[in-house]
């Protein structure tokens, strides 16, 4: 620790350690106020929070910007009105709702329905289509989620050690005033939600649902756990390390297995994964494993979003 611990120092770290030792109540007020607005330390030129910007008086805006904003709004309003009128007019003339002769229900859809179950092995034709016929989109899909996780991690994860310590302090504050109702409800609900989520993921190819919805359900359960029992409890397992480990594992498995199935498909080689007995749990070739991989990516990313927004660190 380069910084020696000056006991009566004003730095937050010192005051936090003093708080731990003496539990001085007046300090609590100070802690909450300061911690709540973490100064944007990691910005190269931090704007001191104690000097908030004076609100820009209406008069200060030059005539030029005021005219520009009014013009912009007028054009934007006209543009959106024109676009939506045009779209409503075209939709009215498009093939009508729900009749079987629409051009969209052509031989491609017929093939997906008729021999979807035999070729992909999945009873739920939508999952079969997503993870086998048009698997390239879904590969792109989980990488959209991964990109969003990277961007949010880069934006919201507090950088320096002091900040993390401040946020730990903030968490300790909130841990103390956990309310009983949420905790008891969570103790009953979370196992149910987790079970339902696992069911939806594992039975993705047999009943409605699949990797995305099941992952989101489990993500919601993890968020409820974080809310109910605070980050101390959820920090034991759900940390940045597990997030990294799980998303690396799931995403690399996903892209490698899909690369394998694309390569074998293109060169007409027989792929190792056969459809197996239709209806079993692990029957539709790669689909259940892909569902699990996508489920893991989705649930940890959704939890990471919430944790990063709430306390700046997973």
């Amino acid at each position: 620790m380069a910084r020696q611990l000056d006991p009566n120092g004003q730095s937050l770290y010192a005051r936090f350690s003093r708080y731990l030792s003496e539990g001085d109540d007046r300090l609590d007020q100070d802690m909450i106020r300061e911690v709540d607005a973490p100064p944007a330390v990691h910005d190269p030129e931090p704007v001191p929070p104690s000097a908030p910007f004076p609100p820009v008086a209406e008069g200060v805006k030059t005539r030029h910007t005021r005219v520009a904003t009014v013009a912009y709004q007028l054009i934007a309003m006209l543009l959106t009105a024109a676009i939506s009128m045009l779209l409503i007019w075209t939709t009215a003339k498009l093939p009508s709702f729900g009749d079987a002769q629409n051009p969209a229900h052509n031989e491609v859809a017929r093939r997906y329905v008729e021999n979807g179950m035999d070729e992909t092995g999945s009873v739920n034709l939508v999952t079969g289509m997503i993870l086998d016929y048009r698997a390239f989109d879904t590969l792109g899909e989980s990488n959209v989620l991964f990109t969003a996780a990277c961007v949010v991690l880069m934006l919201l994860r507090s950088g320096s050690r002091e900040e993390r310590i401040e946020i730990e302090a903030d968490e300790r504050m909130e841990d103390r005033n956990r309310d009983e109702i949420l905790q008891t409800a969570a103790r009953v609900l979370i196992p149910m939600i987790m079970m339902f989520g696992c069911y939806v993921i594992l039975n993705g190819h047999l009943s409605p649902g699949g990797g995305f919805s099941g992952g989101a359900v489990i993500g919601a359960a993890m968020i409820l756990y974080l809310n109910a029992f605070g980050s101390g409890a959820s920090g034991r397992f759900l940390t940045i390390r597990t997030f990294r480990f799980v998303s690396v594992l799931a995403l690399s498995f996903y892209s490698l297995s899909k690369a394998y199935s694309f390569f074998t498909g293109a060169n007409h080689l027989p792929s190792v994964f056969t459809t197996g007995v239709i209806g079993n749990l692990f029957s539709a070739g790669l689909i259940p494993y892909l569902n699990i991989a996508v489920g893991l990516v989705v649930c940890f990313t959704m939890y990471a979003f919430f944790a990063l927004f709430r306390k700046g660190d997973i």
Partner: protein, 121 residues
């Protein structure tokens, strides 16, 4: 045509409202809700196009695999992918809003631009 396509027309009205919210409103949170609404409108339109009246959901029940029994599965697949794309983009937009608010203490995008320009000089 108007009477049969009521779901699609409602989707397009929702698209118009969402686009207007996204472009006209200056508050960042309103823009994000507007953006999510535009995406939901497009997915409502797409799923409505996949629907065939009198047919069931595309899950093979008791071995019936004739095409006349199920609706078109492709739009359902596309919308499934689309919903997660729209959540990912809203998460990034919300993260940017939090960072902007922490620095400029306002949600109004024009005010932020003024403060950024004033802060720079």
């Amino acid at each position: 045509m108007i009477l049969t396509n009521y779901a699609e027309i409602a989707a397009m009205i929702l698209f118009g409202i969402g686009l207007m919210l996204l472009l006209l409103n200056k508050n960042m949170i309103k823009k994000i809700i507007g953006f999510s609404m535009t995406d939901s409108a497009i997915f409502l339109y797409l799923a409505a196009k996949g629907y065939i009246s009198g047919r069931k959901a595309p899950i093979v029940t008791d071995g019936v695999t004739s095409a006349e029994a199920y609706i078109n599965p492709i739009p359902a697949g596309l919308v499934l992918t689309g919903i997660v794309v729209s959540v990912a983009s809203s998460a990034v937009l919300l993260a940017l809003t939090v960072r902007l608010y922490r620095k400029y203490h306002t949600l109004n995008l024009d005010e932020i631009t003024d403060r950024a320009r004033k802060g720079e000089e």
